[in-house]
Amino acid sequence: MESEIAIEYKNVTKRFAGNQYDSVKNVSLRVEAGTIVTILGTSGSGKTTLLKLTNRIYDLTSGDIEYYGQSISALPVNEYRRKLGYVIQQAGLFPHWTVAENIATIPQMLRWPKDKIRERVLELMQMVELDPDTYYSRYPRQLSGGQQQRVGIARALAAKPSVMLMDEPFGAIDALTRENLQNALIKLQRDIHNTILFVTHDVQEAFKLAHKVIVMDKGEIQQYDTPYNIISAPANDFVRKLVSTGDFYDKFRVLTVTNLIEAASAEEIRTGPRISDQTFLNDALGEFLRRGGEYLIVETEDGKIRGKISYNKIRQLACNGVSK
């Protein structure tokens, strides 16, 4: 586990001109490199503001943000932004450029040699599962929303940024496609090990994707922890209400089996029934009820074993989480 700090927020505060309140209030936290951190909150909670402070679309009122130990105001703003990847909800693809040209935006700006650009574009298209033969010279208007967003992600990754900022990128996409994109993102991050800051208002999405979740309300951090810790030990009433309606089963809807994974023995791996690591605990519970048995083997989409999940652990979580 890397413990390098990719982004550190130090007493970050933002107040927009004309407002009587802070949109972001005194936020201090550290984002570890190689993790997906989701920023969860309702509209007005400050989550998008926090993200936009990170790539300097908004200026800090007070405090500082550090990128790998260096203050983000140290570099000229355009140079700094080119180190980050940025994906927004409407993708914002340039309609008059092809898919390939869009993806190549930053490498072209950095004046990479032509063949290196082409190679990188092809590589990225594979990564986001867009067939290059079909889509290389297509235009954004010929793509569906989900495909456009894949291009947006590829474009953000083109110059190999260590940190990627995503602002409700799947908000405008239908539920089925969204699930595909979420899974693709998780796989992507696991392969290239970058850091992702992902803003969303969808509790399930936030918990499914994240190594850690930042829960925000009214500009302040309510809790910053792993999904499991947030569920089992919510910091205050707001967080508690956010992740449950008091029914323990509801909590299972937002946690995936990855939160309760334990190591599995070779014997267990050989004989145990399999479930996907994207499965939420409520569905996993359903599996246990159907098949009986004590454990299930958790595997990734491509069949790699990640460990096992035991019935007892789920029971434990249910019992612990019942009391208010």
Binding site: N55, I57, V77, N78, E79, Y80, R81, R82, L84, Y86, V87, I88, Q89, Q90, A91, G92, L93, F94, P95, H96, W97, T98, A100, E101, A104, T105, I106, M109, I117, R118, V121, Y136, S137, Y139, P140, R141, Q142, G152, R155, A156, L165
Partner: protein, 214 residues
């Protein structure tokens, strides 16, 4: 009719040329000014209301009246006509150019900024190509209406195809009058068709219906 053409074709050609000259000069100057004004409006949104109000007021003034007001200052002839036309075209052009730029989807500009493109780069490679169809539309409207308004230029001695019209009326020479109508209409039609094609082309390009570069 044909006899008239045969006898006066060189005059008519000259007048057409005059007309074209006046139109092109007027549109050119008007465009440069309107573009600058539109850019200012784009940057400082509060200017939109007063500028629109002024352009509107100018546009409301009948052409002949405008000529009359300007003659004491710029005298008779093509100069006054061109100045008038430049002023009138502000209305159409500033609005078209301004709308062309503000019509670009904000998410496209936001993602460009977020990726670290420089202002000048964004302007050159994103904003301008996407605003081009709207700008061309404005130019088209401007040229066609200028051709129309320029026919009045004949009344203040600027020449152009209007001469055929006004002289024809004065001398009851229906052949001359008819040729004036035909030629001025043809010119407007030609300009409109050509510029429409250009506008369609830029529209295709901006929406991504052409061929890629890489």
């Amino acid at each position: 009719m044909i006899r008239y053409l045969v006898r006066h074709w060189d005059d008519m050609l000259y007048m057409t040329w005059q007309h074209v000259q006046i139109t092109l000069l007027a549109v050119l100057f008007a465009f440069i000014i309107a573009y600058a004004v539109a850019m200012l409006m784009y940057k400082y949104r509060f200017l939109t209301m007063p500028v629109n109000g002024i352009c509107n007021a100018i546009f409301a003034i009948p052409t002949l009246a405008m000529f009359s007001i300007l003659i004491p200052v710029t005298g008779l002839g093509a100069d006054t006509a061109i100045v008038t036309l430049v002023l009138y075209n502000q209305f159409i052009l500033t609005k078209s150019i301004y709308t062309a730029f503000t019509g670009i989807a904000p998410s496209v500009i936001e993602s460009a900024e977020g990726m670290g493109m420089k202002e000048s780069q964004i302007y050159r490679e994103v904003k301008l190509p996407l605003a081009l169809p709207g700008i061309m539309s404005g130019i088209k409207m401007s040229v066609v209406s200028t051709i129309t308004m320029a026919t009045l230029a004949a009344t203040i001695g600027a020449g152009g195809l209007g001469v055929l019209l006004f002289q024809g009326i004065a001398t009851r020479n229906w052949n001359q009058l008819l040729w004036g109508v035909i030629l001025s209409t043809l010119l407007a039609l030609l300009a409109s068709t050509l510029l429409q094609k250009v506008e369609d082309y830029t529209l295709k390009k901006s929406r991504g219906e052409g061929s890629g570069k890489i």
